[in-house]
């Protein structure tokens, strides 16, 4: 049992001691194990960034997911493994145990509860296992500046001895190599997001592993889960929570950036699988470490220039980094986009960081069944439409530079909330839009002229691909809207266009 005091001032060294103590293994062994883990290094930088000042140790904590794994596996071990965990709560504020106790007692001498809530950074569950001790971890994200985005987060509440605390994040945990390998851990994190978004049951790691094995029985044993999961097994696990798996090839950089942006911006975390290769020895072929899966949870729009694809400009091409829950590293671990691969925080065989590269091979998206129109279909439509507009723009210069498109999935509620707050439309137009019936899921393609939106195309994501799926166009710019209304709908003109998917857009303006 953890014998630490209740409240401890934060330091990296102290954190390592606490993790070792709470794991339940002899200190000397635990210290060595934890020091070898990447999580320790990652948490050091992460907590420095979050400015952690105090740790509150909550002993005898029952974690639902670990309890499920314990009941299904660990309880049958001859060796005794505890079922109760320790939960460490982190605060960006200094306070002593006496002040904390005063807060619990409701005394004025304690830290005001609202202050505690404001400075709450989240928690880490420490499992009573010899090595794989990092359980459910819910920590505040990096600050979302203009470039960093973490759209797939949700609120988690923690009741600390009666104090209601909350943190906005997406849960992470390391694989225990028993109930879960990397694929299960990544899926578990993804389900943490989709469970809230699409209202489905969030299975524990062992439930995910067992379910996945129902579809395709592995040649070797499923538990302990050293054999991992295949893409087909992961897709089956997604179906079992009543979602539809969509498999994407992420090897083309433009497709990778545009697809992850399109779905992640709506709050849907993605699963990314690929190969890890060690490039420590540049004079020899890279060493294949194996296949690894992570949960994609955020991105950074840090590239100063857009990368055109056949001239077409997409905001998503500014993605220079992604943030993933890498169960071997930590939550929101950064992977930088390089030419054909992603950099990682893994150690190479020389023990140094940054020598291992990740080569994406599959991207798996868990989608609610009503999200039917795939992103690529929308991309195709907008690219063709953009070709027409750009030809006219280049000839008549009604905008100084080429339109930049921002394409992402959204919901009718989010869209209308943004329309409520938009400063680019007048009130009468706003009311008309807000009162229009729209489908639950929409593809939103916004055309930008610099920092000003000129056009919003809303396509029905619940329609069939052959349908007339443009349900609304919001016109912010008078020049472009008149051009579309008069020019593209002129009988002499439209007869020359082939009936491609852009016809839906032209058809809408014609009938408006």
């Amino acid at each position: 049992m953890c014998q630490l005091p209740l409240v401890v001032p934060y330091s990296y060294q102290k954190l390592l001691e606490i993790l070792a103590e709470c794991s339940g293994t002899p200190a000397q062994i635990a210290n060595q194990t934890i020091l070898r883990k990447l999580h320790g290094i990652y948490f050091k930088e992460y907590f420095e960034h979050l400015e952690a000042r105090t740790i509150v140790v909550e002993r005898e904590y029952i974690d639902r997911d670990f309890l499920e794994d314990y009941a299904a596996y660990y309880v049958r071990c001859f060796a005794h493994y505890g079922k109760r965990c320790t939960r460490l709560h982190f605060f960006a504020r200094d306070f002593a145990e006496s002040e904390f106790n005063a807060t619990l007692a409701g005394s004025d001498l304690g830290v005001p509860i609202e202050e505690m809530r404001k400075d709450y950074l989240g928690f880490v569950v420490v499992k009573p296992l010899p090595q794989t001790i990092i359980g459910r971890t819910c920590l505040r994200t990096y600050k979302e500046e203009s470039r960093r985005c973490f759209p797939a987060t949700r609120e988690y509440t923690a009741n600390l001895y009666g104090l209601e605390l909350s943190v906005c994040t997406l849960a992470f945990q390391e694989q225990d190599t028993v109930a879960a390998a990397c694929a299960t851990s990544a899926l578990w994190s993804v389900f943490q997001g989709t469970g809230k978004l699409f209202q489905h049951h969030i299975p524990s790691p062992i439930e995910i592993t067992k379910t996945a094995a129902e579809h395709w029985m592995s040649r070797t044993r499923i538990l302990p889960n050293t054999g991992g999961l295949t893409a087909e097994q992961m897709a089956y696990a997604i179906r079992k929570v009543d979602l539809e798996p969509l498999l994407i090839n992420p090897t083309n950089e433009f497709l990778f950036q545009s697809t992850l942006y399109a779905y992640l911006k709506c709050g849907i975390p993605l699963l990314l699988g690929g190969s890890l290769k060690d490039f420590t020895d540049l004079n020899a072929p890279p060493l294949l470490l194996g296949k690894h899966a992570v949960a994609l949870t955020g991105y950074s729009l840090g590239r100063p220039q857009l990368t055109p694809e056949a001239g077409f400009l997409l905001n998503a091409s500014r993605i220079d980094k992604i943030y993933v829950h890498d169960d071997q590293v930590g939550p929101f671990a950064r992977m930088k986009m390089e030419a054909g691969y992603l950099s990682t925080s893994w150690r190479g065989k020389d023990g140094n960081l940054g020598k291992v590269r990740f080569f994406p091979e599959i991207m798996l998206l868990p989608l609610y069944h009503k999200i039917r129109i795939p992103f690529q279909s929308v991309l195709n439509t907008i690219m063709r439409f953009d070709a027409i507009v750009e030809k006219l723009r280049a000839k008549f210069n009604f905008f100084e530079s080429r339109i930049v498109w921002d394409i992402s999935l959204t919901t009718v509620n989010k869209f209308k909330t943004n329309i409520c707050q938009s400063k680019y439309i007048d009130d009468k137009y706003r009311i008309n839009i807000l009162k229009s019936p729209l489908p639950r899921y929409l593809w939103q393609a916004t055309a930008w002229d610099g920092a000003t939106p000129v056009l919003d195309l809303l396509l029905d994501a619940t329609d069939i691909e052959q349908g007339d799926c443009l349900c609304l166009a919001v016109k912010y710019d008078n020049m472009l809207s008149e051009l579309l209304r008069i020019v593209l709908c002129n009988d002499d003109v439209i007869s020359a266009f082939t009936e491609g998917p852009e016809w839906r857009i032209i058809h809408w303006f014609r009938d408006e």
């Binding site: 063709r384 070709a387 009468k428 229009s436 266009f497």
Partner: protein
């Protein structure tokens, strides 16, 4: 379909651009340029569609580490 767009008065600049564009698109050269641009967009789309195909052998390889 309900008309949502408020009626706005066209500026002189907008009128000129619209008329010039109409004249341009009524010519064979104008329509040819538009078709050529859309053809390029089609090729880019086709290339992306091809790039999106998954190698089926990857589906059965487990993610283990």
């Amino acid at each position: 379909m309900v008309a949502l767009t408020p009626k706005r008065k066209m500026s002189e600049r907008t009128k000129k651009v619209v008329n010039d564009a109409l004249d341009f698109l009524r010519t064979d050269d104008g329509r040819q340029q538009i078709n050529s641009a859309m053809h390029q967009a089609n090729e880019a789309s086709a290339k992306l569609r091809k790039a999106s195909n998954i190698d089926p052998t990857l589906l059965h390889q487990p993610f283990t580490i």
